[in-house]
């Protein structure tokens, strides 16, 4: 049964906070697409760890998503010191341009700002998340929604999606909201000059997702 976070914040248990952080962290990792690139040739190593390796670590060695991220980050740190390679992330375009005008693009690292995904990327990302987390787990986190549609044969199809409007993808981006270093919510900015960003909520009234 879903916990009610909004009415009584004291029910926000450490375990729930960790699970929520892991789901948001995985989502951001997929969207920011952090990778290693060869400087002279431009050859890209898609991920520090292959998806198969990650699955093996989880299933056979009991690694959590956060453990894997710690391993990945340590690999990225090692790569930083290697000559001929650099670390690349997919930054939100308009935020990048605005920071470029200020000569402050280095601020984009570590803040985990990611572009709002369009419908196709949304489906792909949620498909990847569902390989790690169950649909029930995703739906207890604010920002995910169960959508239903019908195929040509009239069969009902249900799928989990990130509940954010795809038209925001043109200029909008998301950033995590942290509490004690754990990601508790995602804040959506409609553009780089948006003064009134909003926090992703759940459509389930029992899951508030209100950040205190």
């Amino acid at each position: 049964m879903a916990k009610n976070y909004s009415k009584n914040f004291n029910s926000f248990k450490p375990f729930d906070a960790v699970k929520r952080h892991e789901i948001y962290s995985s989502l951001l990792s997929l969207l920011e697409n952090k990778r290693v690139q060869s400087v002279p040739s431009g050859k890209v190593l898609p991920f520090a760890l292959h998806e198969k390796t990650k699955a093996d670590l989880r299933e056979q060695h009991g690694f959590s998503v956060s453990d894997i991220k710690i391993v990945e980050d340590s690999i990225f740190r090692d790569v930083e010191n290697m000559r001929g390679y650099e670390i690349v992330i997919d930054a939100p375009l308009h935020l990048f341009k605005a920071l470029e005008n200020l000569n402050a693009t280095d601020k984009l690292f570590d803040i985990r700002a990611v572009a709002v995904p369009d419908e196709t990327l949304n489906a792909l990302i949620c498909g990847k998340l569902l390989k790690t987390f169950s649909a029930d787990q995703l739906l207890t986190v604010p920002g995910f929604v169960l959508t239903s549609s019908f195929d040509e044969a009239g069969n009902r199809l249900e799928s989990v999606r990130l509940d954010v409007d795809a038209h925001l993808g043109r200029r909008g981006f998301m950033m995590p909201v942290l509490r004690n270093g754990l990601i508790t919510n995602l804040k959506v900015f409609r553009s780089q000059d948006d003064e009134r960003p909003f926090i992703l909520r759940s459509r389930n009234p029992n899951i508030g997702g209100q950040h205190k």
């Binding site: 914040f9 004291n10 926000f12 248990k13 450490p14 906070a17 960790v18 952080h21 956060s66 991220k69 710690i70 935020l95 605005a98 920071l99 200020l102 601020k107 570590d110 803040i111 985990r112 700002a113 950033m175 995590p176 909201v177 942290l178 509490r179 004690n180 270093g181 754990l182 804040k187 900015f189 780089q192 000059d193 948006d194 003064e195 009134r196 960003p197």
Partner: protein, 202 residues
């Protein structure tokens, strides 16, 4: 142009995440929200606790061995019309006159003392006074409460003021449940709270 909201969020997100430390902080926040902060917010003091080594054992003083011990709360119950009030009045008369009670040796008779009766059922003038006179009671030492009250915190406090003034050896409440106020008599917890307060007053 970048908004202030974006700058602020970027600054907040710049700290690298130490996952183990984050979980510790989260657990600590959870514990704080549920324990000490709650305690500080309410400004309540902890309950008074005492070691048994610091408690002095006392011998029970009997008013009427083995039925009524001094400083205790006793219930007398039976069907109506069997003479509970008569027995209570007889006890009052005996204690007020210092006569001693049945079965008590003369050496253990207590001296004549004040007694208090709190009666809701019977009229003081029409019922109790004639009965006491018929028993040749020492009415100087028998005190009645005329005002209705309930055995809540305020009522107990006012009762204690009367007890402090007259220092009665015996207090009769007849019947007890006329003074319990709007509590649910079917609920054990409600009755226990009344008994607890009354017992403490004794």
């Amino acid at each position: 142009m970048i908004s202030q909201a974006v700058w602020k969020q970027m600054e907040e997100n710049r700290q690298p995440i130490d996952f183990v430390e984050a979980i510790k902080n989260e657990a600590e926040t959870f514990l704080n929200e549920n324990s000490s902060q709650e305690y500080e917010r309410t400004n309540l003091k902890p309950l008074r606790a005492v070691r048994f080594s610091d408690i002095e054992a006392k011998k029970v003083d009997w008013l009427w061995l083995p039925f009524l011990a001094l400083g205790t709360f006793n219930l007398m119950e039976d069907e109506e019309g069997l003479g509970k009030t008569f027995l209570a009045l007889a006890l009052l008369c005996a204690v007020a006159a210092g006569k001693g009670l049945p079965g008590v040796a003369e050496s253990e008779h207590i001296e004549a003392s004040n007694v208090l009766i709190i009666s809701a059922e019977d009229s003081v003038s029409y019922v109790l006074k004639p009965r006491l006179e018929s028993m040749n009671a020492n009415c100087e030492r028998i005190i009645a409460i005329e005002e209705p009250f309930t055995l809540d915190d305020e009522g107990i406090f006012r009762l204690k003021m009367v007890l402090a003034e007259y220092e009665p050896k015996l207090v009769i409440i007849d019947p007890l449940f006329s003074y319990t106020g709007r509590v649910n008599l079917d609920r054990d917890s409600d009755i226990r709270s009344i008994h607890g307060r009354t017992q403490k007053t004794c």
